[in-house]
Subunit: 634 residues, 2 copies
C-alpha cells in the first residue's frame, strides 16, 4: 500500500508527522539514552510503576532473595522488582530454574507487568504496586556461597568489607555514595568548565622530588640512580600553566602522599585543583562558593553564600584550632585576669612567655559527665599536651566542686562564673600555660566534650547541618619544631604575603601573614589555597633568605616567574573528605570505590606485593632486606 | 528620596521590574559567570567590538609587541587588543611606563574603548574595529629576555619547546589544542554521565603487578620487599565494578606504561575508560558512536554514525594491517593464481605454508616516484620484513619495465594489469611469501606510498576527513613469537569468545575469534574493547589450560566472577591520540600540557632525578650501579 501524502488533508499530515516524530523521540529515549540504552534490558528494576501495567519488559539483575517459592525479588542499582514464579504446569521449566536460584545469582527475566492483587501492594517499595509475570528467564551466572549476605542490615567487619569490596559495593549505601560523588564532581565540572570558562588540563604524576618532599613515593626509572616522584599536588604545574597564559585551570587531580599507615589517610587521594590568573583572594573565595552552591546535592538542602570568614587569630583565640566547628558554641574564654594574684601555681604558669589561663564552659557537663569522662579529659591534657587540667563542677545546687575551690576567694569564683556564663549543672575546664599549648588543648577538649555530650543524648551538632567557614590571615611562616630560630612555610613556599605585611618580609618575616585561605566544613579542613608569589625576586628571597633552601631545585619555576608571570592564585579541595561529610560517612573509605586499608594495603588483591629481583633489574634497584636488630628494619 | 511603588502606574512598575531584573542579570553575567568573572579585568582581550565603543574597560594581559611607540598590542588567551599609548604631556607617566615595556611583560590597562580612525581598521583582527585609550596602567611583572619570541611564525626546536614549555604553551596553536581537549572531554562526560546514566568512578593507581605486566612501573612501599605497581589500565577494577553492580562505569583514567624510550609514546597517558553490564558488542559500539557524535567539536564538521565495520580477516586481506586507513584505496590484490606455473622463484615462495603473491597498484607511481623512492621501498621490504620486493613500472607509453618482465608471458602480464586495474603511469609492487609476512609488508608500503604520493603533490587523503572504522572478529589467541606452539592472548585474557566459536575453546583454541573490537580513525587505533568472560569456570580454563598462567595471581577476580557477575563489556579510548588526530597534530605531545620527551624525560624540571641513599632507606631499596661492561649497565 502506498500513501499519497499530497492527497491527505493537511491536518492529517500534521498529525502523521507529529506521531512519527513522537515515536522516533520515544524510540530515541528508549534505545539511545537513559539507564537502559544499549542494554539487554528494557527497564531497570527500580522504575516500574502502575502505568507500566500490561507492558512487556525485560529486566536484568541479581536475585536478592526468594520469597515463599512464589517470588524472586530482583535487584539492580536502581531498586527492586517482585518477579512472579509461574506455578502452572505448562511453565514448570521456568519454575524449576527460578526456584533453584541461589541468592545473588544474575538473571534476565522477560515478562509482563501486572498490578499486584488488592491488599498485596507494598507501600515501602517504590515498585510495590506492580509485579512481573515471568515468561522467560535466562541465568547469566549462578552465585556461589558468599562470605556475607548483601542486605543493608547485615553488619560486616571492616576487613571483610575490604577483602570482598565488590560485594560490599552492592550495598545501597555504597551505591548511593559513589553515585552522589560522581554527580557532585560532574556538577563542579559543569560550573568550572561551562559556566566560568575554566580549562581542564591534565598534569603529570611522574615528576621529580620537590624540596622537602619526604612524603613522596619514588618511582625508579630505567636509568640507573634516577627516580621519578609521585607529587603531593600539581602545585608547580598549575602555577606554570598560569605563566603559560591558560588563565583558568582546573583538574580533578590524583595526588599521592606516603605517610606510612595513618588511619583515614589514603596514599592516593583526589583533589579538585583550581588556579586562576588576574585574581585576588575574594575572587577565589567567591568562585568556590559559587561552585559548591552549584554542585550541592539537592537532597542535602541548599547552602548559603557567602560563607562566614574568620581570621586565624580569632579561630585560635575562640576555638583553639584553625578549623573550628561552629555548629556549637563552647568558646575558649580568657580568664587570665581573674587569677593574676590569687593562686600561686597559676601565677607561675602566667610568668612564662605567652602565659595565660583559658577555660571552656561545658553546658550540663557537671550534670552529665561521669567521673570516668573527667578522668579521660585530664588524661588527654596530660599525655598529649603535658598540661594539668583544672576541673570545676558547678553543681545544680549552686555550689562549686573543685580541687581549686579552696584557693579561690568568693569574688574570684563569682567573677569566673560570670565571665564564663556558667549555669548550675555546667562544667568548667581550665588550663594555664603558654597560649600555644593551652589553646590547642582546650580546642581538642572542646570537641571531645561535644562528643561526650552527644553520647549522653544532648543534641549539640545537627548532623544534617553544613557549616562552611573561611579561615584567613594565617601566618606565612612558623618556627621549625626542632630548630625554633629557623622559619618554615606554614603552608608552602609559594604563598604571597598580605599586601600590608609585604614589607615585613625583609625585616620581620615571622610577623608576616599570608594570602592563604582554608575552607572548613563542620570542623574539617576541606580545602586550602592562596594567592601566589608572582615575582621571581620575591620568590627567590623567600626560598633563599627566609627558608634557607637551595633555590636551584626550583630554578625552572623561578625562570618561569621571570618570563611574564601574571598575578595568580588558586585552591585545592579534598574531594574524598568533602564527599564523606556530605554523605555523613565516618571514613573517607566509604566514598572511595577501592580504598587502601588503614595500613595502606589493598586487602582484596594483596598489594603491595613482592617483585622478583629479575623484574627489578631494569630499574637498577635491589631490596635492602632488614638485618636482625639492624637499622633497615625500622 | 523614596518611591511609593503603589502610586506608580502599573506599566511603569513593570518597566521598573524589568530594568532591575535585567540589570541584575547583566551584573550576574558580568561578575559571576563567564571568562572575566571573579577577575581583576572587566573584559578579555579578544572580546571587544564596536558595540563596546564608549565603555570603560579593564584589560589584563601580555604585551605582545609595541608598534611605532604608539600602540601596545595586548594579548590574553582570547585574542589581541590594540591599546593606545597616550601622547599628551599630561599623561607622560603613562607613556613612560608603556614605552618601556619589554615584550611579554604583564600589565593591567584601564581605559575607554573607541572606534579606530577611519582607514585604520584591521579586518584580520577580530577586535580590529576598536582600540583602547589608556587611562591607567599597572605593571604586574616585567619580562626578561626570552629564549624565543612568542609568535606563531617563530619555529622552535623540540628541545627548546620542552625546556620552556610554559612559553611554548602561549602559542595560539597550543592554547587551541588544550582548550579543545578540555571541551571534548567535558562533552564526553556530559554524554556518559548526564545522558546515559554512567557513574564516574575513580580506581586506584597504586596496585599490584599483573601477570605478565613487564611494562609496569614499580613503586616501593615502606614494607621491605613489597612493591606497588602503576597499572596499564583499570581493567581489573572496572570488571570488579560490574560485579559490584555499578552497572555503568566510566573514568578518564591515567594509565602508565614503561616502554623505555619510544618516540611518540608517553610513560603516562589518558584513556576514556568505559564498562557496562548487560550489554553486547553492538551496544558498546553504538554507545561509543553516540559519545563521539555528541562530543565532536563543531568546528571539525559532523561525523556520521554508525561507523563502517570490517572483520580482522578482511582488513588483513585488503589492507595488510588491522587498522586500515580507508581514506584511500590501493588495496592488496591476491595475484597468486597468475603465477602458479610460470616463474620459478615465485613458485618456490608459493610452496611455503601460507605462500602467496600479493600486489598493490600505486596510481601514478611509475610517473611520480624517483629511483630513490623505489630503492627505499625495496630497502624497507628487505630490512624490516626480509622480503624481496618486485617492482613493475607501467610506463605511460603502455610498456612494462621490470626485472620480472622477461619471466612473464604476455598473457600473464595482461592478466596482471587486468587484475590490478593498473593504468599507464601506475606502479605495481609485488611480494611473494607467507601471508603473515607479505600482507604486513604491503600494508606498510601502501602507507609509505601514500606519503610519497602526497609529497609529490597528489591529494590522496583529505586532511580534514575523519574516517572511523570498527575492526571486529579478531583471533582470541595468537602463537607466542618465541614459542609458536604456545598461545598468548591477542589482547588480554579477559576477552570472551564469539558465541559461535565458544565450543572451540575446549578443542581448537587457536581458531577461536574473540568478542573484541578496535576503533580505528584514519588508520590509527584509537580504542579497543571487548565483551568479557563473566563465568569463573571459563576464565579459569583460559588462564590455566590455554595460557598456562598461574591463576592464583588473579584469584580475587576469579572469586568475584563466582559471586554473581553480570555479563559485561567495555572499551578504552586513547584520549591523547584521538585529540591529536582531531587537531591535526603530528605528535601526541602537542595535546599534552607537560609531556615527557621522546626519551621519557621531563626536560623542563629535569625528571627523573637522583635521590639520596638516605631518602631511599624508608623504602628498603638501594641503587645497583652498573659495573663497567657488566650486566647492570644494559
Amino acid at each position: 500500500m502506498t500513501i499519497d501524502l499530497a492527497q491527505l488533508p493537511k491536518y492529517y499530515f500534521h498529525i502523521f508527522v507529529f506521531c512519527v516524530s513522537t515515536s522516533l523521540k520515544y524510540l530515541y529515549f528508549a534505545l539511545l539514552s537513559g539507564p537502559s540504552s544499549f542494554s539487554l534490558r528494557s527497564h531497570t528494576c527500580g522504575e516500574l510503576r502502575s502505568h507500566h501495567v500490561g507492558h512487556r519488559v525485560i529486566l536484568c539483575g541479581w536475585a536478592q532473595y526468594l520469597r515463599q517459592d512464589l517470588f524472586v525479588i530482583l535487584r539492580d542499582f536502581s531498586g527492586l522488582t517482585q518477579v512472579l514464579i509461574p506455578q502452572e504446569e505448562s511453565a514448570s521449566h521456568l519454575k524449576a530454574v527460578l526456584s533453584e536460584l541461589t541468592a545473588e545469582s544474575v538473571i534476565k527475566v522477560t515478562g509482563t507487568v501486572r498490578r499486584r492483587p488488592a491488599g498485596q501492594e507494598n507501600k515501602e517499595m517504590p515498585t510495590g504496586e506492580i509485579e512481573v509475570i515471568t515468561e522467560d528467564v535466562e541465568v547469566f551466572n549462578v552465585c556461589c556461597k558468599l562470605p556475607f549476605e548483601i542486605k543493608d542490615f547485615v553488619k560486616k567487619s571492616e576487613s571483610l568489607r575490604m577483602q570482598y569490596r565488590y560485594l560490599d559495593l552492592r550495598s545501597s549505601q555504597m551505591q548511593k555514595n559513589l553515585r552522589l560523588r560522581s554527580q557532585l564532581v560532574m556538577k563542579m565540572r559543569e560550573y568550572l568548565c561551562n559556566v566560568q570558562g575554566f580549562v581542564d588540563v591534565e598534569t603529570p604524576t611522574l615528576f621529580k622530588r620537590t624540596p622537602g618532599g619526604a612524603k613522596e613515593f619514588v618511582v625508579p626509572s630505567r636509568e640507573p640512580g634516577l627516580f621519578f616522584s609521585l607529587p603531593q599536588s600539581p602545585q608547580q604545574f598549575k602555577q606554570l600553566l598560569m605563566v603559560a597564559g591558560i588563565d583558568r585551570y582546573f583538574q580533578v587531580a590524583r595526588c599521592y602522599r606516603d605517610e606510612g599507615s595513618k588511619p583515614d589517610r589514603q596514599p592516593e587521594f583526589t583533589q579538585v585543583d583550581i588556579e586562576m590568573s588576574f585574581v585576588d583572594q575574594t575572587g577565589i573565595m567567591s568562585l568556590v562558593e559559587g561552585m559548591l552552591q552549584h554542585s550541592w546535592p539537592a537532597e542535602k538542602g541548599s547552602i548559603k553564600v557567602p560563607f562566614q570568614t574568620m581570621t586565624y587569630e580569632v579561630a585560635m583565640r575562640d576555638y583553639g584550632v584553625d578549623k573550628p566547628d561552629l555548629r556549637f558554641n563552647m568558646k575558649l574564654i580568657d580568664i587570665t585576669e581573674i587569677f593574676t594574684v590569687e593562686v600561686e601555681f597559676l601565677r607561675s604558669a602566667l610568668s612564662q612567655p605567652g602565659g595565660s589561663i583559658q577555660a571552656i564552659c561545658v553546658p550540663s557537663g557537671a550534670k552529665l559527665f561521669t567521673r570516668k569522662d573527667l578522668e579521660e579529659l585530664k588524661q588527654t591534657a596530660n599525655t598529649q599536651f603535658g598540661q594539668e587540667l583544672s576541673v570545676i563542677l558547678f553543681k545544680e545546687d549552686g555550689t562549686l566542686k573543685s580541687a581549686l575551690k579552696k584557693l579561690l576567694c568568693s569574688s574570684s569564683a563569682e567573677e569566673l562564673l560570670n565571665r564564663t556564663q556558667a549555669k548550675p549543672g555546667d562544667l568548667l575546664l581550665m588550663a594555664a600555660g603558654p597560649l600555644h599549648t593551652v589553646r590547642p588543648l582546650l580546642g581538642k577538649l572542646r570537641l571531645r566534650c561535644a562528643e561526650l555530650l552527644e553520647s549522653c543524648g544532648v543534641s549539640l551538632r545537627d548532623p544534617s547541618a553544613f557549616h562552611f567557614l573561611w579561615v584567613v590571615d594565617f601566618p606565612l611562616f612558623l618556627p621549625k619544631e626542632d630548630e625554633p630560630e629557623q622559619l618554615e612555610s606554614a603552608h608552602h613556599p609559594f604563598t604571597a604575603a598580605l599586601l600590608e605585611d609585604a614589607h615585613l618580609l625583609y625585616t620581620e618575616p615571622h610577623k608576616v601573614r599570608g594570602q592563604h585561605y582554608d575552607l572548613v566544613l563542620n570542623g574539617c579542613e576541606i580545602g586550602g589555597g592562596s594567592i601566589r608569589i608572582h615575582k621571581a625576586s620575591e620568590q627567590l628571597h623567600v626560598l633563599k633568605n627566609i627558608l634557607k633552601e637551595d633555590p636551584s631545585l626550583l630554578s625552572h619555576l623561578l625562570e618561569a616567574l621571570d618570563s611574564g608571570a601574571p598575578p595568580h592564585g588558586g585552591i585545592a579541595l579534598g574531594l574524598d573528605r568533602l564527599t564523606s561529610i556530605i554523605v555523613g560517612a565516618d571514613s573517607i573509605r566509604d566514598v572511595i570505590a577501592f580504598p587502601k586499608s588503614f595500613r595502606g594495603r589493598d586487602i582484596m588483591s594483596r598489594a603491595p606485593d613482592t617483585v622478583s629481583e629479575e623484574e627489578l633489574k631494569p630499574y637498577h634497584i635491589s631490596v635492602r632486606w632488614p638485618t636482625e636488630g639492624g637499622e633497615e628494619g625500622k
